[in-house]
């Protein structure tokens, strides 16, 4: 399956406030795409538009090259930001019900529910009313609810918020499984370290505009000034006086510095070797947090 989920020029306003401005990006099949942005940047609105829960004022969402239909969306798996299931129904019953609403027949829904509840570790609590489960287990039930119909595309709004570490591992494993089976997976998070660890591709949104999109490595390459770390045998204080260098951090023999865009790092290395032994010299990859600060400021 090589199908791609695409947003093209999506606009959306609530009253006078435009919350999405010409939003375009792609979620490639088989890849985990992290969707990051500050609170109120437009992540949830974008995801609701993908799922058809909200309509776009302009623009289009397409899947495999054609505009999304309700039939397509029924094969999507969606975990909304605000969680909730029926408190007075058993987990098994409502997961199966959601499976049926997504088009499974009764027998298939029952089979899928049993398998998923076991997978997320709720097999034995399946016949308990949802309201009697612990919060962590309710989150697991929510995951089962999003996956019961074996969705072709996954759209998850903050899937890791409020999860205990064990549940995070379960969700990560399940999402990776879906991605490697060829499904595009879009997930939002404001925990940048989690996104950094998980995503293949990244979409950064700020104030309703896409600020950056691409693979994690591409973004690293293109969104930062060249930064290097140098460790020498003696004191590295002299680096501060080297032409073109902006000092970031200095700690005895260790120094981190930036060069202007396109600047050549070799003269600095040469100067260090001229002064004595060099223990380490390497480019420093910016963290996602740094990229995020840079593109959203």
């Amino acid at each position: 399956m090589t199908r791609t989920l695409r947003l093209d020029g999506v606009d959306r306003s609530f009253g006078d406030r435009q919350v999405l401005k010409n939003v375009s990006f792609e979620v490639a099949a088989g890849r985990m795409t992290g969707f990051v942005g500050a609170n109120g940047a437009g992540k949830t609105t974008t995801m609701r538009i993908i799922l058809g829960v909200l309509s776009a004022d302009a623009g289009e969402v397409s899947w495999g090259g054609t505009a999304l239909t309700r039939q397509d969306r029924r094969r999507f798996g969606y975990m909304p930001e605000e969680r909730g299931l029926y408190p007075k129904m058993t987990t098994r019953e409502q997961v199966a019900y959601l499976g049926r609403l997504h088009g499974l027949d009764a027998a298939a829904a029952r089979r899928a529910t049993d398998a998923l509840l076991d997978r997320v570790g709720l097999g034995e609590r399946g016949n308990d009313l949802l309201e009697t489960l612990s919060l962590g287990n309710q989150q697991r039930a929510q995951i089962a609810a999003a996956l019961v119909h074996d969705p072709e595309v996954l759209v998850l709004d903050e899937p890791f918020s409020g999860l205990d570490p064990l549940a995070v591992d379960t969700v990560v494993a399940v999402l990776r499984e879906r991605a490697s089976a060829g499904a595009p997976v879009l997930f939002s998070s404001h925990q940048l370290d989690v996104v950094e660890r998980l995503c293949d591709d990244l979409v950064i949104i700020g104030d309703g505009e896409i600020r950056a999109a691409g693979s994690r490595q591409q973004l690293r390459d293109s969104y930062t000034v060249p930064r290097y770390e140098l460790v020498v045998a003696g004191d590295a204080g002299w680096v501060r006086d080297h032409p073109g260098v902006t000092l970031v951090e200095l700690d005895g023999p260790r120094v981190v510095f930036d060069l202007p865009a396109g600047g050549d790092e070799q003269p600095v290395l040469q100067a260090a070797l001229d002064r004595g032994p060099v223990r380490a010299f390497s480019p420093v990859s910016p963290s996602l947090t740094e990229i995020f600060r840079e593109v959203t400021q």
């Binding site: 609701r48 829960v53 309700r70 605000e82």
Partner: protein, 353 residues
């Protein structure tokens, strides 16, 4: 999967959940007991025929009149039997009727000759029944649309409050959610009434009031379609009201217009049921026609075409309210920050399809 299948799934869930709800089950049981008690007990309390003490010669005509006759030796023994409370009355020479403190009508009638009576309007209804039947119709419609209406609104709010609505809306069209709830409510309400009706009919047979049944049958026959359409009309309003609220606590505030739409026709039919002009008007107004029209048919005041016209008006109104209700429902279902105003809900059509 199309809207019809989605509607069916939604309705199935609503019914399944309701059938496990203890309050609902006990409520139904309570109504069944009332129906049984109300039909079986009154004839029992009506009591046995009067007992009358009389000498052998005079016993014949009283026996023929169905009275409980005690033959005594003479008039003195008859009088003593009355004084002792063994019998309700005695007939002594004269003939004269003896009783303690209450003139025994049945005994007097048995001894009198009545002039022949010719009824010019033989269908005219016993005034007690004429008073009770409107009350029962209005009450059944009122109670049922009220209880099931509130339940529809509660179910809408539950989905909003727990936020599951977002998953539902992503999977099925909003109008399937609305339709499923209305259908489930109608089925449950109708089943409950049918069950009560069956018990009442059996009760009437046991209590030997079968004649009333023949009299009521046509009115009940018309009550069914009127009830169903009237219920759909109100159910659409209840669902929309529920969607405007955000928490169960808000339900009273948002449902005031719906409450009035149920309450006012109820009292109008109860209090104006002997006013011909008022009833004629009420029998065409969609909110009161479900009770007023079957009533006019029962009292024989409506021409054959009238219920059909009224039913068509109700059908159109129910359709219009369903569409309007669906629009308000769509416009407010995803607004989970506090109560939504009717106007905002009407303007905002959020979801696609």
């Amino acid at each position: 999967m199309n809207v019809t299948q989605a509607t069916r799934l939604v309705a199935e869930r609503e019914i399944r959940v309701k059938l496990r709800d203890r309050t609902f089950l006990f409520g139904t049981l309570f109504f069944l007991l009332i129906a049984a008690a109300g039909t079986i007990l009154p004839p029992l309390f009506a009591g046995s025929p009067d007992t009358v003490a009389v000498t052998q010669e005079a016993a014949g005509p009283l026996r023929d009149a169905g009275l409980d006759v005690r033959v005594v030796a003479d008039d003195r023994a008859a009088e003593q039997a009355v004084r002792d409370g063994d019998v309700d009355a005695a007939v002594v020479a004269g003939p004269k009727v003896l009783a303690m403190d209450d003139s025994p009508t049945d005994v007097v009638q048995a001894l009198s000759t009545s002039p022949p009576v010719q009824l010019l309007d033989p269908d005219a209804v016993n005034p007690v029944v004429a008073f009770l039947v409107p009350f029962v119709f209005a009450f059944v419609f009122f109670i049922t649309s009220q209880t099931f209406g509130v339940q529809i609104a509660q179910s809408v709010i539950e989905e909003k409050q727990t936020r599951i609505v977002e998953i539902l809306v992503a999977a099925v069209p909003v109008r399937a959610l609305l339709a499923g709830k209305v259908v489930a409510g109608a089925i449950l309400a109708f089943a409950q009434i049918a069950l009560i009706a069956v018990v009442a009919v059996i009760g009437l047979q046991i209590g030997d009031s079968g004649g009333l049944l023949t009299l009521l049958a046509p009115a009940i026959g018309w009550f069914v379609p009127f009830f169903l359409l009237g219920f759909v009309l109100l159910a659409a309003m209840w669902a929309a009201a529920g969607a405007l609220a955000n928490r169960q606590e808000d339900i009273a505030a948002v449902s005031t217009p719906v409450q009035l739409a149920v309450m006012l026709p109820f009292f109008a039919v109860i209090f104006l049921n002997d006013n011909d002009t008022a009833m004629r008007v009420l029998s065409y107004v969609p909110f009161s026609s479900p009770t007023a029209m079957p009533l006019r048919l029962f009292t024989g005041n409506a021409a054959g075409w009238e219920p059909i016209v009224s039913l068509v008006i109700l059908l159109v109104a129910a359709g219009a309210f369903l569409l309007a209700g669906a629009r308000v429902y769509e416009g407010s279902l995803l607004r989970t920050n506090g109560r939504t105003s009717l106007l905002t809900a009407w303007r905002e059509r959020e979801t696609i399809g």
